[in-house]
Assembly symmetry: C2
Homo-oligomer: 347 residues x 2
Amino acid sequence: MSKANPVVAIAGATGAVGREMLLVMEQRGFPASQVKALASGRSAGRRLTYEGPGASGIYGSGEGYVEVEEMTRSSFAGVDIALFSAGASVSREYREAVLDAGAVMIDNSSAFRMDSDVPLVVPEVNPDDVAGHNGVIANPNCSTIQLVVVLNALAQLVPLRRVVCSTYQAASGAGAAAMEELYTQTRQFLEGEPLTIERFAHQIAFNCIPQIDVFLDDGSTKEEWKMVVETRKILHEPALALAMTCVRVPVLRCHAESINVEFEAQLPVSVAEARAALEAAPGVAVMDDPLTLEYPMPGLLAGTDDVYVGRLRADPSVQNGLAFWSVADQLRKGAALNAVQIAELLL
Amino acid sequence: MSKANPVVAIAGATGAVGREMLLVMEQRGFPASQVKALASGRSAGRRLTYEGPGASGIYGSGEGYVEVEEMTRSSFAGVDIALFSAGASVSREYREAVLDAGAVMIDNSSAFRMDSDVPLVVPEVNPDDVAGHNGVIANPNCSTIQLVVVLNALAQLVPLRRVVCSTYQAASGAGAAAMEELYTQTRQFLEGEPLTIERFAHQIAFNCIPQIDVFLDDGSTKEEWKMVVETRKILHEPALALAMTCVRVPVLRCHAESINVEFEAQLPVSVAEARAALEAAPGVAVMDDPLTLEYPMPGLLAGTDDVYVGRLRADPSVQNGLAFWSVADQLRKGAALNAVQIAELLL
C-alpha cells in the first residue's frame, strides 16, 4: 500500500471511535480518494457527516457525507486501507477478507496486538515498526497510547526502571452507549429514580469502579495486563517493570493517569530536564503551572489531540523518581487519531 | 479527663463533619452526660437531631435534639471533651479557652497535627500515643486515616519500604457546600446551563481535579504533604518513603485510594498472608472477590465505618510488592468516627 490517494474503509463507522475516525480524517484532510463507511446491516443507508476528501456529496459544500453500507466479506474489494473499530471478534472474522482484497488492516481492537507478526504502533514512538507488517497493524489500547507517548519522551533522557500508574478512565472508553449510560444514570440519580445499569458492572454515576475488562487469574484485570504487555512491545523493552491499576471514573471523555516513574541511572533526572524533554516531544503538551492552578483535566480537554502532562515533580520516595499526571482524549489520540496517523505512515 | 460520663462540646456542629460526629455519638451510644453544639452566631438556636445520651428533649423519645449555641471563649466552662471541626484558624483561636476550662480538645483540623507535643491518633494504629497529650489530640487528615489503618496492618507482617498512592477523593472532603456544588454543577451540566464554580478551583462535575489544598514549593500539594508527614508520625516511621498524588473526583462521599506497597524484606509477603492480616485487622473489611466482581466502591459505601480493601494482588514490578485499592467514608472513619473513637480512648 503506497497509493497517494487510497480508498479507505471504516469498519464500525457508526460507533464512538468510528465517528471520531471520520472527524479526524476530515480535520486532517486525509487524502482518501474514497471513504467507505461499514457497519452492521441495521445502520445501512444511514448518512454520516463527513466533509473530507473522498466524501460523497460535493466536497466542501457543507453537505458532504458517507453512506453506511452493511459490512460483508466482499466490502473490501478495491479498498487500500481498512480502519477497524468494531470489536475483536469482528476484526478476527474479517481479517482474511481484508487481506485477500489486498488491503492493509489497521485494527483498533485487541485481537492481534500481541501477535508477533503484527506491529503495534504509536507513530510518535515506534513508526519504523510499521515497515514489518504482514497486512495487519494494530492500534494499542487507549490508556496504553497515552502512557507510552510520555514514557518514550522520558526514556530518551535515561532508561526507565519501573513505572507505577493508576488510571482515571472515562465512560466513553467503553463506547458511546456507555457514555450515554453515565448521562442517563446521573439524571436518574439526581431525580431519585432507579438506576439503569447495563454497560458497566456497577453504578458509574458518582462512583469509581476499580475494574476495566475481565479479571485474570493473578487478580489483575485484562486492561491492566494490556497496559503492561503493550507498553513493553511498543517501547521494545520486554522486561520493563510496570504496575498498573485501572479505574473507571464518572467522566464522559478523556482518560487521566497518575504516574510514578523510576529511572535506571544513579544520576537523577531533574524536573527541568524532564520538562524540557516533554516540551520537545511530538504529541505531548506540557500544561503545568501551580501558580495559576493549571494542569490537565479530563473534563476540559475533549476533542484535543495531544497527550497533556502536568503536576510534574520529583518523587522523593525513590532514588531517581519523577511523578506526574497526564490527560488525553482517549477517542482521539487513544484511538481514532492514532489509527489515522498510522494510515498516514502508509502513504 | 477520665470521667465516665463527660460533657462533650462539638465545635462546628452544623458542618458536614460536625453533624456526622453527632450521628456517630448517637449510633455508638457515647456516654455523654451532656452534649453542647457550638457554631457561629448565625446558627444559634437551630436544633440538630440527636438521640444519644446527653441529648436535650426526652432521650429515646424520637424527639431528642441539641440546640446550637454561639461559640465564645466562655462556651467551654464545665466541658470535658471538645471535638473541633471548624477549620484550623478556629481551632487555633479557641485552643487556650478550651485548655483553660480544663477540657481536652480533639481537633479535626490541620492546626496542631504536626506539633511535637500533640499526639496524632488513629485508635486502631497508635492508641497509646493518646497518653502523652497536653490537652490537645489531633485527628489526622481523612485520606491519611484510611491509608494508615491498612498500612499498619500490613507492617505487622514485614516492615514497609515504600508506598505509592493515588487518591480518588470525594467532593464532601471539602465540606458540605462542596458536595452541594457537585450536585448543582452536575444538574447545570446536564441542562446545558453555565456552571457555578465556587468551592473548587475548577469544574468538578464530570471532571477530575489533580489538586487538593494549596501548592507547595516542591510541586506537591499540601494534601499530598499531609499524607506523607502524618503517616510517618502515626506509624512512628519518620523515614518511610511515601509518594502521594491526590485527586478530586466527582463522587459525593467516600475516598478511594490505589496503593502500591513495597516491603523491606527479601522474602515476599504473599497475597494470602496480606489478606489474612487485613481480615484480622481492627477497622478493616476485606471486600475482594473477582469472581463476583466484588470490590469496594465509593458510591456504594457511604455511612460505613470500616476501611474497605479489595483488588488485592501481587505487584510483580518490584521484588516484594503488593497492590490494592481501598475505600472509606471520609466523613466517618476519615473524620467524625475517628474523633469519637479518640474520645472513647479518654474514658
